[in-house]
């Protein structure tokens, strides 16, 4: 039994045929994670007790002849910005070094109700701000495919955990590409669902109007199964959608004939040669599946980066205000006055990237600047969304690269935030428009670095993304 080779369907069959118990699976997953973790630093914490308790509950249900749920016994890793009751949740920040939440995120609650076994919490960029996982207060994560390279970010730990075979699936969060980009860097599948599809209750907010929880897995089918278990309206999140949750497995028919796939010109500029080459192969494979490729234009794409960094920093500056040393956070011990408590706690507690974004966000919301920045960015956001809505009148899916380049070396872009921000240039547009985006592996570069193909769908278009992604995967997309 090798965790890295298991699929969700495989686990369900094995459990029900009593070839393995959930407890054995959990123990094996925990053992592998413990063994592998020094190589990647993917996990910040292994929740052994919680995992075994959940596994035993699955075994007990099976023993009673009850249905233990569609994710029964599936070892899942959870990004450390998603709260877990009684299990430390740090968000990769020194400020929350000792924060033990008294409640579970809705997504976690629903996964466990479906029988999943939460193994532990995965490393991430501090408060999900970053594209390389180097902004974690608890050290960077190494890419299992190339240990001297970053796994991408901010859900780097979740992507690495799945890629190194210690978890069958993982939860990440995606604000501007934080699931899709690390999935592509590590060679796994990652989905940023439609905004509102999965409850944000319990996801520590970075940019509330953009943040989403989504799955990472080794294949599209598993990603769909994880989404199935956690999607749907949640009374505790006012922005969660009432839209009914379709049967995702049924959508994956294995064929993609006749699907109209839009290829936006703007997304094929500035790619590294390797990435461009993989994209060429992906286009050919899509055509061979019977998809109708259409060149389209999304004219406001070039405004996406400034627009995104205004919206997300503005919201972040407000969302991060609560880490002030008064309650659950770390507090600077030298502080003598209230002003010192704030400035020392936040000054020493936050890493450079968080501080940069807090300052940017504070600035763009300031009196006299609001209209020029925040309001204008909101208007641009509407234009970007309209670009997509117009495109989806002609096509069913839009296909783009996930990132202009594959995984880069640790430290390579650390001193150049603008270069770092470019990693997300192709993912933030769907984020701004609230659209779902699926990252599927699309072969490797000559150096063996994974490349990802992004499939963007209309709002609540997850079924078509799964259908095309699954067909692409079955046709050998991952080994192009």
């Amino acid at each position: 039994m090798e965790i890295g080779k298991l699929t969700i369907t495989g686990i369900q069959e094995a459990l029900r045929a009593r070839r393995v118990s959930a407890r054995e699976l959990a123990q094996e997953a925990l053992r592998t994670a413990r063994e592998e973790n020094p190589k990647t630093n993917a996990y910040l914490l292994l929740a052994e007790e919680r995992a075994l308790r959940a596994a035993e509950a699955v075994d007990a249900a099976l023993g009673r002849g009850q249905d233990p749920g569609p994710l029964a016994g599936v070892p899942v890793a959870v990004k450390d910005n998603i709260v877990t009751r009684g299990v430390r949740t740090t968000c990769g920040s020194r400020l929350l070094e000792n924060f033990v939440p008294p409640y579970d995120a809705t997504a976690v609650e629903r996964l466990e109700r479906a029988g999943a076994v939460v193994l532990g919490k995965t490393n991430c960029d501090e408060f999900a701000m970053g594209s390389s996982n180097e902004n974690s207060a608890f050290g960077p994560v190494r890419n299992p495919a190339a240990p001297d390279r970053v796994p991408g970010g901010s859900s780097g730990g979740s992507a690495a955990a799945v890629a190194q075979g210690t978890a069958v699936a993982a939860l990440g969060s995606d604000t501007g590409g934080s699931i899709r980009q690390p999935a592509s860097f590590c060679g796994v599948v990652g989905l940023s669902p439609t905004y509102g599809r999965v409850s944000r209750y319990g996801l520590v907010a970075f940019a509330s109007s953009l943040d989403r929880i989504g799955p990472l897995a080794r294949n599209v089918r598993d990603a769909a199964a994880v989404l199935q278990a956690m999607a749907g309206r949640d009374e505790r999140d006012s922005t969660s959608a009432f839209a009914p949750v379709p049967d995702y497995q049924a959508a994956m028919t294995g064929e993609a004939r006749g699907l109209r796939v839009g290829v936006p010109l703007e997304y094929f500029e500035g790619l590294t040669q390797d990435t461009a080459a993989q994209m060429e192969k992906a286009r050919a494979l899509l055509a061979s599946l019977g998809c109708e490729l259409r060149e389209i234009s999304l004219p406001h794409t070039s405004y996406a980066i400034p627009c995104y960094y205004i919206v997300c920093t503005a919201e972040a500056s407000s969302n991060l205000a609560r880490y002030d040393g008064v309650r659950y956070t770390w507090r600077a011990p030298q502080a003598e006055t209230l002003a010192e408590m704030y400035s020392l706690t936040r000054g020493q507690g936050f890493g450079a990237e968080c501080k940069r974004r807090i300052m940017l966000g504070t600035y763009v919301l300031s009196a006299g600047y609001y209209d020029a920045y925040y309001l204008k960015a909101q208007k641009v956001r509407t234009l970007i969304t309209r670009d997509f809505l117009a495109a989806f009148e002609q096509v069913d899916v839009i296909a783009t690269p996930v990132s202009p380049f594959p995984a880069f070396r640790l430290g390579e872009k650390l001193d150049d935030p603008l270069q770092m921000y470019l990693s997300d240039i192709f993912t933030i547009t769907a984020s701004l428009a609230g659209l779902p985006g699926l990252s599927v592996p699309c072969g490797r570069t000559a150096e063996g670095l994974p490349v990802g193909l992004q499939l963007i769908g209309p709002h609540f278009g997850e079924p078509v993304l799964f259908r095309l992604g699954d067909a692409f995967e079955r046709a050998g997309g991952a080994s192009l």
Binding site: S209, S318, L338
Partner: protein
């Protein structure tokens, strides 16, 4: 800080200068639970016990709007004759303070719940409408205590029970022209909130809080002077005192060639003066932006109409009705609309006895005195309105004299019995039987020959003596007019 003793602006100064005042009033809505979570919205629990991840601002927690808070907000808006917007938007008001756990308040900014209302106040020159600029919903902060603990020199204590209590902020237009008008406005507003069932408006519990914007200008000037915000006006008395002080301060400043600077001042009731808290430059930049965790608030026509149709009559309307329909004096109408409970009680009595003036006399007279003596609120009155109505009816029918009724009411108050039960137990009733009364009168005359002689000798004032004796003999059960009449015949 000012060192001069507080003083009032002189009448001469006020002839030259006109104060311009606007009030910002925070009303705590009387919902069962808080505005964005399910914690109890109550006063007086042990510190930090009515809290949950949402109102503690814990990472990952999200607000969910309480429908009941919106409903009370709409009731408040309707009570103030506001237009309720079909769509309003919550916004974050960002600032740091230890009792503000999220680091922002969820409020409403450019799209408030309601706008364009008014409150009618009475002024010496007649009724005057004060504009209500806007009414918006927001969550309350917690409470910081900087004093009273052993280690208060180094630490402050924070209680977050109040965090997330629903508030309606009501901003008036700068239509008020004197501290008395401000006082009247706040009084009317409080009454309207109580009548509409929005809030108890208990200032001691912080249900009602008030800030004021004050400026002065030369009479006749078209433009307003520079305004100063005064905070912490947490009683009606403080509001009036602080305004008097601040107006005098501004007038004196301008008269001596100085200029008022825009700032926020705090009223100190101990010194009876205001002092500068922060200047315009130090003012917060709240960096408002639309709250991304909440959808815009849509108020449907049907909901609005159902709330509108459940609104009770407002005090001003009731007063008009009491005067025109019941023939009450303005003063009594004013007294009887001091609270919704009192007005309801009064109407209950009128309903039971059909005599509004008698009802008004009893409610504002003997009943009020009894309630006062025991510091009881009308809501806790042991005599229900139907029973007071019955008592009044008994007097109307002549079964009781007014004097007897006045003796019976305190007994009803004590024993919680009806008037008839007490009459029967104590044998109290009006002596309407002329035969029996005549017998008693004869006895009284026979027992007082000396006075009879005086009367017959022309000293008619002795009549009062005989009436008194008869009343005493009948233990007040006789009708004094009938006694006089009979005596006159017999003497």
């Amino acid at each position: 800080m000012s060192t001069a003793a507080p003083r009032l602006a002189t009448p001469e100064e006020l002839e030259l200068y006109e104060p311009v005042i606007g009030l910002e009033v925070h009303v705590q809505l009387g919902t069962r639970t808080k505005i964005f979570c399910g914690c109890p919205n109550e006063f007086g629990a042990a510190p930090n016990t009515n809290v949950c991840p949402v109102c503690l601002g814990m990472p990952g927690a999200l607000p969910v709007l309480n429908r009941a808070a919106v409903e009370l907000g709409i009731r408040a808006a309707l009570a103030l004759h506001c237009e309720v917007r079909r769509r309003s938007v919550f916004a974050r008001k960002n600032y740091f303070y230890p009792d503000l756990p999220k680091g922002y308040q969820i409020s409403q900014y450019d799209q408030p719940l309601a706008e364009h209302g008014w409150v009618e106040i009475q002024t010496p020159a007649g009724p005057k409408r004060i504009g209500v600029h806007r009414l918006h919903l927001e969550d309350d902060a917690g409470k910081s205590s900087h004093e009273g603990y052993r280690d208060s020199d180094r630490f402050s204590y924070v209680d977050l029970n109040r965090t997330g209590s629903p508030l309606a902020e009501i901003v008036s237009e700068p239509d008020l022209r004197s501290p008395d008008e401000a006082y009247e406005y706040l009084t009317e507003l409080k009454l309207a909130m109580q009548f509409a069932g929005v809030s108890n408006c208990d200032m001691e519990k912080g249900n009602l809080r008030c800030d004021a914007n004050v400026s002065v200008r030369r009479r006749g000037a078209a433009e307003f002077g520079t305004k100063v915000e005064i905070k912490n006006l947490n009683s009606f008395r403080f509001l009036r005192q602080a305004l008097y002080f601040e107006i005098a301060r501004q007038v004196a400043l301008v008269e001596s060639g100085g200029r008022v600077v825009q700032e926020t001042r705090l009223y100190d009731p101990n010194l009876d003066e205001t002092f500068s808290m922060r200047s315009k430059e130090e003012a917060h930049d709240y960096r408002y932006f639309p709250e991304p965790d909440l959808l815009p608030l849509e108020v449907g026509e049907a909901w609005l109409e159902s709330i509108r149709s459940s609104m009770p009559a407002m005090p001003a309307e009731l007063r008009r009705r009491f005067v025109s329909d019941y023939g009450l004096r303005e003063y009594d109408a004013q007294v009887l609309t001091a609270s919704r409970e009192l007005a309801d009680y009064f109407e209950g009595v009128v309903h039971a006895c059909g005599d509004a003036r008698a009802a008004a006399n009893w409610v504002t007279g003997d009943l009020a005195a009894l309630l006062n003596a025991q510091s009881l609120d009308i809501a806790l009155c042991p005599v229900p309105p139907e029973r007071l109505g019955e008592l009044i009816t008994l007097v109307q029918k002549g079964e009781l004299t007014g004097k007897l009724a006045k003796e019976i009411l305190p007994k009803m108050f004590e024993s919680r019995e009806g008037a008839r039960a007490i009459m029967e137990r104590e044998g109290l009733r009006a002596l309407s039987d002329t035969g029996e009364l005549e017998r008693i009168i004869d006895q009284v005359i026979a027992a007082n020959p000396k006075q009879l002689e005086q009367y017959r000798g022309g000293k008619t004032s002795v009549m009062q003596f005989f009436v008194g004796q008869v009343m005493k003999a009948t233990r007040g059960q006789a009708n004094p007019a009938a006694v006089s009449e009979l005596l006159r015949r017999k003497l």
